[in-house]
């Protein structure tokens, strides 16, 4: 046994923690080692001294004051009893609030998702005069792309303008239907050779969307307009077998901000015998401010099984009479 082990055993001996064998081994070492024997004496004296160090007596009346203070603190920490009805009401309120917050978050998420989808814009809402109930926009059908680009339509406009001597104010084209509007005064505004002009090209698309998201384009006219001129036209539906007639009144011009302001009136005439054909709830009268080339949903009606949507987008084109028009922006969506 070395002296450090001996020292540790002395400490445990004083605390009555040694077995008989350990005590015997320790005493054997102490008998042979004067330094450890001296330390054992010192440790005993110290042990007695430490045990004799007393804590101060309790202050007078301490017991009563202590318990009063403890009970005061206990009462502060104890919760007030809550009635069962209050708990039920609180839980119900939390559930309702949570549901409302989740619904709000979901709707916000859906709107943000729709806004990110190409071809659909909801940042410009119809304003003024529309009694059409707007619904959230769906995805614009893939076949909404203008495959040949509006440049072809503008070129046709210039050609007809040249042929008619410059009296034409607007032109509407949908498939093989072409309608033109002439100036009654016969003033030549565009036909001057090499005169640079701008025209507004407005495209509208009226689609029927079914529950399986299958879409049918019922009407898809393109208007080429002199700025500020109003086109008024009645066009047949795209379905050759139907006798639907879609009435449009379109007026558009470029604003100083660079955006295009447009006023659109839309209605549909459906023969009484054809009840299965699309019937809009009410005419659309929309006045919108749009970015060039960005489609907007002017209105929608119906329900999940069959719903109708009217989209519109517009762009400016520079033309020179007798020449090919510039391609411009927004030809392809």
């Amino acid at each position: 046994m070395n002296c450090e082990t001996s020292s540790q055993l002395i400490s445990r001996l004083l605390d009555n923690d040694l077995s008989d064998a350990e005590q015997a081994a320790l005493h054997e070492h102490l008998a042979q080692c004067p330094a450890c024997e001296k330390q054992e004496w010192e440790q005993r004296r110290l042990h007695t001294a430490v045990r004799s160090v007393s804590a101060p007596d309790l202050p007078p009346d301490y017991s009563r004051r202590l318990r009063e203070e403890i009970w005061r603190k206990v009462k502060m920490t104890e919760r007030r009893p809550v009635s069962l009805s209050f708990r039920i009401m609180a839980i119900a309120a939390i559930l309702i609030l949570s549901t409302a917050v989740m619904l709000l978050a979901w709707r916000l998420h859906v709107r943000q998702k729709e806004a990110r989808q190409p071809g659909v814009a909801i940042e410009t809402a119809p304003r003024g005069g529309s009694s059409f109930m707007p619904l959230p926009a769906g995805r614009l059908p893939k076949n909404a792309l203008i495959e040949n680009g509006s440049a072809e339509q503008v070129q046709a406009f210039v050609s007809v303008q040249d042929y008619l001597g410059g009296a034409m104010r607007w032109m509407a084209i949908d498939g093989n239907q072409v309608e033109v509007g002439m100036s009654g005064s016969g003033i030549n505004t565009v036909g001057e050779k090499n005169a640079a002009r701008e025209v507004v090209v407005v495209t509208l698309q009226y689609v029927e969307r079914q529950s399986d998201n299958k879409t049918t384009i019922l009407s898809n006219p393109q208007f080429v307009l002199l700025p500020g001129e109003e086109a008024s036209v009645r066009l047949s539906g795209r379905d050759r077998d139907s006798r639907d007639l879609f009435r449009y009144r379109v007026k558009a011009a470029k604003e100083k901000s660079g955006q295009i302001s447009a006023r659109i009136a839309f209605d549909c005439e459906v023969p009484e015998a054809a009840e299965q054909r699309p019937v809009i709830d009410s005419p659309i009268n929309a006045e919108v401010m749009v970015k060039e080339g960005t489609p907007v949903l002017l209105g929608a009606s119906g329900d999940a099984t069959r719903r109708h949507e009217l989209y519109m987008w517009a762009g400016m084109r520079s033309i020179t009479a007798g020449s090919r028009p510039s391609p411009g922006k927004g030809n392809h969506l």
């Binding site: 001294a49 007393s54 309790l58 301490y62 318990r67």
Partner: protein, 186 residues
């Protein structure tokens, strides 16, 4: 207090019986207060530690499963409170003089005035030396030597293995011996 009576009081307290807990407080508050005095060295702080100990004991009484003595459980709360307080303590405080030897010791002294003076001086130095020990060593020494608990009980209170408790008590004694070497000469 009789162990059976104490067990009944604990059960009643766990069911929210304030009177039963009040009796437990009456039975144990003095020991808790004295332990707090030894660990903090301050009467004011000992009072606060004692109050906090019983408030926490009342609030967490349902967690007491009787695997240790109730007093041991109270001590474990008090030691934590006292050591936490010492760690946080920065401001000045009223220090209790633990230097006065106990009345029994004074009465039993048969030596002369010079020896009595020397004993009082030694007791004062010893109290100061104990307060200079590291907190964990002082706690182990106090619980073993002054409170008379076993290594096993102290291990439970301090959450150390018994061997660690024994080593800390031995280490505390070594430090005290070094600090008070002049007074320990035979």
């Amino acid at each position: 207090m009789d162990e059976t009576v104490e067990t009944q009081l604990i059960r009643r307290s766990q069911r929210g019986d304030h009177e039963a807990f009040d009796q437990l407080m009456q039975a144990h508050h003095e020991r808790v207060y004295r332990l707090a005095c030894r660990l903090t060295g301050s009467a004011n702080e000992a009072d606060g530690v004692t109050q906090d100990t019983f408030v926490q004991a009342y609030c967490s009484l349902r967690q007491f499963k009787g695997r240790s003595r109730f007093m041991t459980w109270l001590y474990s709360i008090a030691v934590r409170k006292a050591l936490d307080l010492r760690r946080e303590r920065h401001s000045s405080h009223e220090t209790v003089s633990l230097a006065d030897p106990p009345a029994d010791s004074r009465r039993s002294s048969s030596s002369g005035p010079l020896e009595t003076l020397r004993e009082k001086e030694f007791a004062g130095l010893l109290s100061d030396a104990i307060m200079k020990l590291p907190d964990d060593q002082r706690a182990a020494l106090t619980l073993i030597v002054q409170e008379g608990l076993s290594y096993k009980e102290v291990a439970r209170i301090l959450s150390f293995p018994e061997g660690t408790v024994a080593w800390r008590v031995w280490k505390a004694r070594q430090l005290l011996r070094d600090m008070l070497a002049d007074y320990l000469e035979p």
